[in-house]
Symmetry: D3
């Protein structure tokens, strides 16, 4: 067939009508504080997904059977944060209005705010499960309210206390940790208590945001702010599988892959496998 090239995340080629999950990329990194480059994350994940298998021996499921479509990357304006967030919010709203589950690939963590605005508008009682090395609870970063270091604080403003459940946190300034104690639930360093949280949230809509830097940089060096002392790939794989198969996930994202910082390509492959396991676990 002599037609235009279609390129999707492995196996995510179902027609828009049949898909229940819609994947899209949000290549944006203008507020990254340390090392930029996550703008290349979503395309790298799509492109390198062919380096892994569509079948998971962990779940005994295959992406060939999954109802997912990959819509490609948004075109976002670097340097204009509001425009970029609006564009992400709009796309997420379209997906939600089509009764599909949005699954966004970052980009830096701030992109979560765009998607979450649309999700919170449709599900006012939504909770957030947040995996990350960083608390991301600053009120501002060098004066900027819209920074990847503040993204969960901005989300909190939309839903209030008791709705954010953080795991794996191991970095932040003194005030973030202190403020967090009274407003969000923070599990430091690992995923202990995740099962309990999932029980609590049973039946409630959940937005699930995974900052891949929750993993140790030994296995995931390709990120903007690597934090030694993180969880293993297997720990994260099990945790995301748990959330995606147990919680009522109405939207989710995976972010902070900065592929150029890992010449070996391993970080991208790691991201691909986490995405694969999440997509498979989301399948009924």
């Amino acid at each position: 067939m002599l037609s235009k090239n279609v390129e999707v995340f492995m196996g995510c080629d179902k027609g828009p009508r049949f898909a229940s999950t819609m994947l899209f990329g949000a290549p944006f990194d203008s507020t990254t504080s340390y090392r930029p480059g996550t703008r290349f994350g979503s395309a790298a994940i799509r492109h390198e997904s062919y380096g892994i298998e569509s079948y998971s021996p962990y779940q005994d499921k295959d992406l060939e059977d999954a109802n997912v479509i990959d819509l490609g990357d948004l075109e976002l304006c670097f340097g204009d944060v509001n425009k970029a967030l609006d564009r992400i919010e709009e796309r997420t709203r379209h997906v939600l209005h089509a009764s599909k589950r949005p699954f966004m690939l970052g980009g830096e963590h701030l992109v979560t705010l765009g998607a979450f605005r649309a999700v919170a508008a449709m599900y006012p009682d939504v909770h957030i499960i947040h995996f990350d090395a960083h608390a991301d609870l600053r009120d501002d970063y060098l004066g900027a309210k819209l920074s990847h270091a503040c993204v969960l604080r901005r989300c909190w403003e939309l839903v209030g206390d008791g709705r954010i459940h953080q795991f794996g946190i191991r970095s932040g300034d003194r005030e973030e940790f202190s403020w967090g104690r009274t407003h969000v639930s923070t599990r430091r360093f690992d995923f202990e208590g995740l099962e309990e949280t999932l029980k609590e949230l049973e039946g409630k809509p959940v937005y699930f945001t995974v900052d891949l830097d929750v993993m140790d940089p030994s296995i995931f060096p390709g990120t903007g702010t690597p934090e030694p002392g993180g969880v293993t790939f297997d720990a994260l794989r099990q945790a995301v599988t748990l959330v995606c198969s147990r919680a009522k996930v109405v939207g989710c994202d995976v972010n902070e892959l900065s592929p150029h910082y890992d010449q070996s390509g391993v970080s991208t492959i790691v991201a691909c496998k986490i995405v694969r396991e999440m997509l498979l676990a989301l399948q009924p």
Copy 2:
């Protein structure tokens, strides 16, 4: 629009009916003798083409106006050379039968043989213009007849003496140079005589094959067999523009980008610009 992601070389998104040139990738490198990795070439060119402009100040033309479609990459079998060449020949034949001009992105130089078989079948009087650092005229390489070091010799077997016009050659073994003297026309080191050759070939069908390693590795390090002492980017840009605007090019290819060997990404951008200038010069 919530539809499957389409990814093409910048501006090469015309419908198959309206396109006059059809771009496709041949990601193959199994016979590469020194450093493999050209299999990643065509996808890198497609992906990074957005790093340059669609408008050329050299030709004052814009790819937005060009009638080109990008069909994407073939799926080729590594390790089975015959199968891979057959697949390339078949694709080229389809394009020719649709009355379009095939424009192939390698891959290693052996892929030229697949495309040229189809071209020579349709145009028995075809000539080859060949830009390269290497003569590629060996009869075999360690016993293998199908090797990127032998590709022009295999093409010669299809058309005979006096049909191959090489430029820029600066590497080969003693026998290649010696054999070449009586069978092909070889200009060493640069493009001198190209205008004369083009005059000679006026009105005759031409297959144009560009091994990007004809350039000096200072500007094009991302290749399998870098050969210091090559031509500049500007010299190549002018030469390909000349060929594509003057000769009756019935098929062409650009090959031997091995992007992983150039962490700076410059080699890929160089390839993108050469492809852009060729596509623009091919436009009537």
Copy 3:
């Protein structure tokens, strides 16, 4: 002496009172359209300057004798373009008010706008000499007015027609080149006509902005938007020496080094030498 570590560009350690030129870094890259990372440029230039000699055999001058102080890098807010530009403008104004010449190290090219605002306020009749691969004359980039692709257009708004003198331009969209024809003076590809321009501008205040990507990526791969077909190091060295020794330079900048994209470190050394030659040529 057991005191806090001082770190400056080689030889730029004169006291603030005695210095006539003040060097400072503007580590910002939030609007970069293709590949970010110029935020690391100024610090890399400072740090690696010790890899070259303070003495120039080209000019037979030594930085040890130059009256320059290095003030270090500004702390700029990623993601908030206006705040960053204000901060740069403020610093430039302070330097100008102290009767010193500001010499800014980028960062992406947009930082020029911040410095130029302060310069144009003090010298309303100022001209700009602009070395670049890119015209940077877009009215907006994906809707954003403050983008590195628009910086000279924004500068034009401050001073009007006939004040901007571009050299080396080899990339842009069709409209930029077309608009430029009636508003600025553009020399494509090289520095021809630079002497004439300098004669014209004799005695007039000049702001000199050097986008290092005017050089060919063979010698300067470490940049966000490499454009093959550029000038050589020697051509640029001679041109900047000419401008700095002949024109009445009231402010200048050197930008767009993105060091992480050149693992060999050569791009940073190239930037260091260009800065050295400029600083020496600026010495009376």
Copy 4:
């Protein structure tokens, strides 16, 4: 002494008469499906072996005392799989006929087939112990029977059911896992059960093939198909020591190091240490 340069894996310089183990390289990667480059593996292991000590504190043994000779790399033809396998089989046969143990360094995993053909011809009752991330049990890969993804299937055709004992497998397509259940013994993810297997195989000839990608890519990124979720270096070190000291190893190989994908060089050092520990454990 003014004689030709001899280069061997550290300590493997015993005369051919006295050596009991013969090391040789099989630099071949033409069928690699994802990222090629294992052709550089054996030479890198030889060259970098001087970065580690010849003494192992784990086993309290020293390579200086080991009876090993390093024969260097075979010259293999890229692009002609059958020729390459024949050449490997021939070399292995020579070693076996000299009553020595062949120890081959890959190259991609397909090279195992060449060596195993010679081994199985001499020891028809031979078993295979196979450490790998991938099952390698496909019947074909995109139509090719001779692919690194099919190598254990090809070996199975030589010896039949119940002879292949896999450990560490964590990737494959659905059919491989399904087929494997009735034909080979597969331990997923780790080395549990290895001691039992060794007991079973006591006294029987064993061919031992180690695909280094069985390790987690955090410690071994330099490979063609990295699979997150693998075993640690220490787990592999202990397991290979166990096999080499307990089983009757009549031949073995270590493969799939692709050194260019690990700029840090760590993967090569890891491979060197695994080879050292195996060589030491093989010493009586």
Copy 5:
């Protein structure tokens, strides 16, 4: 403020009078046996320290409150080992005479000898706690007495038997291990017994030297002689915290970061965090 640029390890900007710990770099690597480059270690640690937070959630302490000054790097002569060691000894003596604690950043491990000479002169009863992958107990290396492979042997000559307490050792030649048994205390592979050692040394002056290659190269590839099989970041973090908070540390160093061998930058960040945790634990 228009003054010369001051650059220090994050938060280490206290005035020399108020500081209790003085940080300085010893960029030297002339005796490195395998891969040089640790000369860039101290500057990289200083420069990249801004990529982590000053606050530690592990210790709930903040570097902003720590009494530390960073004096910058010594200028050391490559190729003249004695001159370099003298210069380091002199600097250490100055710090000690100012009643401050010297905290040196290497450089290769031999720099420890320079600092330890000054420390041992002031504290003749000093013990050494030594974390390392390598025993460093050779009497000479290819005839040289002053080599990083001999540094602990040279230190032993200053203080004698029973004073050196090694942990994590997993590499050396046969004689080092054998000699070590009767002269120093060596814990192989990990930190078991550290608490007991700290109890023994209670109240006694301790020099603490941390060779970062004690960590596994999965998390710390950026070093001259990577040794697979090392401790995790968390294990080292806990162990250094223990030593720095419990022992009477009169001087310490952290060495063997060779940043260019880790393009991802993770190794440098790892070093920064270890230094941060040590500085915080040293605070009363």
Copy 6:
């Protein structure tokens, strides 16, 4: 043949009796002032020489016909400069006493001193032709007399005024250039005057030392102290061919390749080709 692996520079495998030129490596870099790593140069040149052809179309000669033996690398002691130089001198003397021409591959430039001592002892009237970016005429570097920055000064001490003929020099401190004016002959920036120098030196013994950094870092980034503004590969190729075919070269060296700084491998290939052209031109 089951014998120990022999590894030589391509084609340099003639028996010691028949060889007229003896190649050997001097892997040493302890005095390198900026970026070390040339210790890996000679082995890289040997290893990668198989990436080029043995036949030169420039000279129409083939290394297969050349009478050269490659003796491999010396084992040199890092950190002990005198020992290393003695070892080099001894090896050179052995080669000279066997009536062969020594051809040394560095290593840093200081290794020239070791070889030149032996050459000057045998040929007291020897001249030096020196290609380099750096004058290397300092009396000392930070107090060290034996530094790569002083190597030609040390050579001068052996032979006196009028014997050293430098070409291509473009970097040094003020004093070097000044001192040089009265003691050596220095051509700055290029090779102008080389023919005249060769005429002058006709019949006189010449030691020829090539610091590869005389080339522009665009084509030779893999070196310790890259200096933009150098000569092209072709200019150097022609110049070395001229010297080797015209002068009475009694010894020579090629140095300052630091391969790890050029991930693309091009610098090593450049070095290989320069060595090939020199070896061929030295053949009668």
